[in-house]
Amino acid sequence: MALPIYYSPFEKGWHYTYRVICAAILVFLVAPIFVIVPLSFNALPYFTFSPEMLSLDPAGYSTQWYREFFTEESWQHAVRNSFVIAIFATLISTLLGTLAALGLSRSQMPFKAAFMALLISPMIVPLIISAAGMYFFYTRIGIASTHLGVILAHAALGTPFVVITVTATLTNFDHSLTRAAASLGASPTETFFKVTVPLILPGVVSGALFAFITSFDEVVVVLFVGSVEQRTIPWKMFSGIREEIRPTILAVATLLVCVSILLLTVLELLRRRNERLHGPASS
């Protein structure tokens, strides 16, 4: 962006200072995440750069922590659990959340605001309170320390994201399209699957991604509701940090950063597709 010619020298100076400040803030946002990447190749079991690493001596680097992650059974168990729990939780929250969003976006929906506030609340209530409540209640109905219990808990935490994203897609939704389909003789089911679903799909997918990452990252509820058979990657990381800090955690963290980059790419592609279809949207 070229500077407007009427800018005074002071304004020009400020313009660049401002850019530097913003750059610094963006570095603050991203740098901590990338600091762990080189650290995870540390040959020594510490969380800091060794002199060998700084002089780029190959002896200072090692992939042993990655080997440990891929070979140790308890980590692999955690990986399986994380995926199983997140996938099932995502399915449940996407299904229920999408249905609810379809209902909420109908103009005839009674008590819309109240329902919305209630359905979003799992995102707002402090996790420790949800986790403690689930811990006592799920123990009582016999689903604590089971995969089912953790999946249901995570599904509950994930639904607000689906409701929000699908509702957002539906606000731009042109209802005359479904009416047109109906008037042209399509059955309600046909209309739904051939007209509505393709239009709200981007919202559903990004909601599902949010639900997935919510479950995949969640640790407080797993700590309370789950037991060792349900331990997930974040659980292992949490107890690892509290007990013996080993660079294996950094290796795992690096891999998780790759996962989030992947998810971010999917979202970005979705957004571009959406932009092509609807023109630059507001969200």
Binding site: F47, L99, I120, A132, Y135, A156
Partner: protein, 420 residues
């Protein structure tokens, strides 16, 4: 108007139109509701009931009456203000109850419950339980008094009298650093035991500080993102979204690696020569650690709502102000900033709500002075086992959050919440 003079419009099948429309409306309302009901039912079972169930624990006092059923009834006849001990029937009831509870191994529960109110009750009940089986006939009073001299103390009986109901307020008193004294009056906890008021205060001011820091750091970046052309701003936006999508534990781990005494930042400072090797800075396990890490973690939640508001402000506003002679600063402060207030409000409330309920990051980097109410709730659930107190703290925290949530709903509208 005479009946029949109004022509009733009817639909093809002969139904009055008004009624037919009403029915259609009702049916479509019902259909909308039917779509929401599955999720509503699901959340009720998996989320709402568990929370209500836990909140009930903050006043639940059934344990005393269920373990000491006869005593809690008999003691009602005793004047709890009197300086005299209760009469023989109360003692008899207590001996019966203690014997039964000792057999069923439930006596420890009531001992522990009353020990929260008065230290020493736990061992009093344990000791009495072991010796009470020898007391088989009257006079019960004399014999029980012989078991332990603490039974002479009327405040013990006042405590049983006070806590014999099914509900109690004592957990809420305790979570406000208050207690009932021996006369049954509300009094301050002794100074060394006061903790929760200052804990809430600390949670609030640290959350506020984190919110302000997020605003200070988030505002310029959002402004930059909103003023750059879409292509560039979308690229930079990725830098904001990446931390947003990165696991909380990954980001906390990063901060541990950075802030440790033997960590990256300290190494850097020593290397540059700003500090000496034996005077490394303590940046973790204290307030600094919590504030820095949480500001980083919550910053995207400030930037995203700010950005979405700023993007809707037409650039012509600023241009108009400038062309009318306003200095850049005046134009920015008087024209641009007021337009961003909704974004500021949304971002600040969201960050603040998320901050006051935080658990993981303070638990890992907060140490002694950087922990929040949430951490104490966890401690009372899994370490001290005082679940009633944990629930009472939870109720207060939840109430705070819900009030803020309602304000957020009023200002922004929950349905306008945007993600990413």
């Amino acid at each position: 108007m005479t009946p029949g003079s109004v022509e009733v419009i009817r639909t093809a099948d002969g139904m009055p139109l008004g009624l037919s429309l009403q029915r259609t409306l009702l049916r479509s309302r019902l259909r909308a509701l039917l779509l929401v009901i599955p999720l509503l039912a699901f959340l009720t079972v998996t989320f709402v009931l568990p929370i209500l169930d836990m909140l009930y624990r903050s006043v639940d006092n059934r344990i005393v009456a269920s373990v000491l059923p006869h005593t809690t009834v008999a003691i009602q006849a005793w004047d709890s203000k009197s300086t005299e001990l209760p009469d023989e029937p109360v003692f008899e009831a207590l001996v019966m109850d203690i014997q039964a509870a000792y057999e069923q191994k439930t006596l420890g529960r009531v001992g522990r419950r009353l020990n929260y109110e008065k230290p020493g009750m736990s061992s009093l009940f344990r000791k009495t339980g072991r010796q009470a089986k020898r007391i088989t006939e009257a006079p019960f009073k004399e014999q029980l008094l012989g078991v332990d001299k603490r039974w002479h103390d009327t405040s013990v009986w006042q405590l049983i009298h006070r806590e014999s109901g099914a509900l109690t307020g004592s957990y809420f008193l305790a979570s406000s650093d208050l207690r009932l004294d021996d006369q049954g009056e509300i009094a301050l906890q002794p100074e060394p035991r006061r903790i929760y008021v200052s804990l809430f205060y600390r949670t609030l001011w640290m959350s506020l500080l984190i919110t302000v820091l997020c605003l200070i750091l988030g505002y310029p970046v959002s402004y930059l993102l909103a003023s750059l052309p879409a292509r560039t701003s979308n690229l930079l936006m990725i830098l904001v979204l990446l931390p947003f999508w990165t696991s909380l534990l990954v980001r906390t781990t990063s901060w541990i690696a950075l802030l440790q005494t033997q960590g990256v930042l300290n190494d850097l400072l020593v290397f540059v020569g700003l500090i000496s090797d034996d005077a490394r800075l303590q940046m973790m396990y204290n307030k600094i650690g919590t504030i820095v890490a949480m500001t980083h973690i919550l910053l995207p939640f400030m930037i995203l709502p700010l950005y979405s508001v700023m993007k809707t402000i037409p650039t012509s506003y600023m241009q108009a102000a400038r062309s009318l002679g306003a200095s850049p600063l005046t134009a920015f402060v008087r024209v641009y900033m007021p337009n961003t207030v909704p974004g500021i409000g949304a971002g600040c409330i969201l960050v603040f709500i998320l901050a006051i309920g935080y658990y993981i990051t303070p638990a890992l980097v907060g140490g002694r002075t950087g922990t929040f109410v949430s951490n104490f709730i966890a401690v009372h659930i899994s370490e001290t086992l005082n679940w009633g107190l944990a629930a009472a703290l939870g109720v207060i925290l939840l109430a705070l959050v819900l009030v803020l949530y309602l304000i957020y709903d009023k200002i922004v509208g929950v349905s306008n919440m945007k993600l990413g």
